[in-house]
């Protein structure tokens, strides 16, 4: 199975690569033809979106969603997939699904560390912003932890950094992507 990681400059995509390779995936640079496209998440919203525009990945991702091809957004990758982000003074998102990204208001911010995702296990989070969307499918301490809309799955936590539990989560997303691409 071929997976494309949409790079956009700043950020650690290495750990996503390592995690996917451990699961037996082949990495490709071709966002359009991959079985799954991963929008990784480190950096700030504005620079990530600018990077995606520059590479043309933004259009490729929109086309994937329209065609029902799987896309996984991780952390910032989930946040910038929404219609709007309050980060960096406000910036328009990719609009792959409805909703917006807002700054966290309670607790220590950035919210960094392992936290329970209701009923799913414990995963690693590192974020100052979170999604506000009708597409939420899981929460962690009141924060949106997972979203789903059409062929888009997004997680606020970092499965690639969440040990064996994270690996199982990624494997399930890959499994789902396989059945979609066969369908």
């Amino acid at each position: 199975m071929k997976v494309a990681i949409c790079e956009y400059g700043a950020g650690n995509v290495r750990s996503v690569e390592v995690a996917l390779r451990r699961l037996g995936m082949t990495l490709t640079g071709d966002v359009t033809s991959a079985d799954l496209a991963v929008l990784p998440g480190v950096g700030s919203a504005r620079s990530a979106l600018a990077g995606l525009r520059e590479s043309g990945h933004d259009a490729a991702l929109r086309a994937r969603i329209e065609a029902g091809q799987p896309v996984l957004g991780i952390c910032l990758g989930l946040q910038i997939a929404l219609e709007w982000s309050d980060e960096d003074g406000g910036v328009e998102g990719l609009g792959l699904l409805p909703g917006r990204t807002e700054r966290l208001e309670t607790g220590r911010i950035p919210r960094i560390g392992w936290a329970e995702v209701d009923g799913r296990g414990t995963f690693y989070f590192a974020h100052s912003y979170a999604a506000s969307t009708p597409c939420a499918t899981a929460w962690s301490e009141g924060v949106v932890a997972e979203v789903r809309s059409g062929s888009f799955v997004g997680c606020q936590f970092h499965p690639e950094k969440s040990g064996p539990e994270g690996a199982r989560y990624l494997a399930a997303v890959l499994e789902e992507a396989t059945s979609r691409s066969l369908a």
Binding site: A10, G11, N12, R14, S15, V18, A19, R22, V42, G43, S44, S47, L76, R108, I109, P110, I112, G113, W114, G121, T122, Y124, A126, H127, S128, H158, E160, K161, S162, G163, P164, E165, G166, A167
Partner: protein, 231 residues
């Protein structure tokens, strides 16, 4: 890999890649790798080594030592670090923290503070500064640091417990997570540290016996502290 007592008497404790993999397998929640003499020896951190460690991990990975610019930090992120810790260079030029946060987001920027008797020391603890740890932590966070790694040089390597007073004072002064470091001797110390800080760093007691981490986690769980399942 080396470990000392109060930043001195450094002794070799083994191969960093092997140790990192052992810690990850034994249930470490995060790995912090510091090239402690990078600044003193004018060296950028060992990027290639960071890459080899990252290959073996499935947990968050913080790297520090000799980071002086956004370019240094990006090189580490590209090699597989999730967060970059800065110490001496940020003391010399606090604006570095803002530059790093602007590029990587503050969740990826850790300010590492080495303190002795409440005052900040720099250059791997070899030089004193006029700042208190509390004031510097506050300023560093205002500049963009998203986490504070606070090492008490008085407690470092002693295994007599974390410096709870200092850690509590710093945690009360900043709105970001604080990692307590220096002095862990057992589960009770970790439990005490987690009362005042958001995370506790372990070094000396694990370097000799990485498997100790698993029993430590069990002891903490028995004390009623939430510990994630690692199976």
């Amino acid at each position: 890999m080396v470990k000392g007592v109060r930043f001195k008497e450094l002794r070799d404790v083994g191969d960093p890649v092997e140790l990192a993999a052992a810690y990850s397998d034994a249930g470490a929640d995060e790995l912090v790798f510091l090239d402690i003499t990078a600044t003193l020896e004018g060296r950028a951190t060992l990027v290639e080594l960071v890459g080899r460690i990252a290959e073996r991990l499935a947990i968050p990975f913080t790297v520090g030592g000799g980071v002086r610019s956004v370019a240094d930090a990006e090189e580490l992120l590209d090699a597989g670090a999730d967060k970059v810790a800065v110490n001496s260079a940020a003391l010399e030029r606090p604006a570095l923290l803002a530059e790093l946060a602007g590029r990587m987001g503050s969740q990826a920027v850790v300010v590492a503070i080495d303190a002795q008797a409440g005052r900040v020391r720099t250059r791997a603890g070899t030089a004193e500064t006029q700042r208190t740890a509390v004031d510097w932590a506050r300023e560093a966070v205002e500049c963009g640091a998203g986490e504070v790694l606070l090492t008490s040089m008085d407690a470092d390597g002693t295994r007599a417990g974390y410096d709870l007073e200092l850690t509590g004072a710093v945690a009360a002064a900043v709105p970001v997570p604080v990692i307590a470091s220096g002095g862990a001797g057992g589960a009770q110390h970790v439990a005490e540290a987690l009362e005042v800080a958001q995370a506790a760093l372990l070094a000396s007691i694990l370097h000799e016996d990485p498997a100790r981490l698993a029993s430590l986690r069990d002891e903490l769980r028995a004390m009623g502290i939430e510990v994630r399942d690692v199976a």
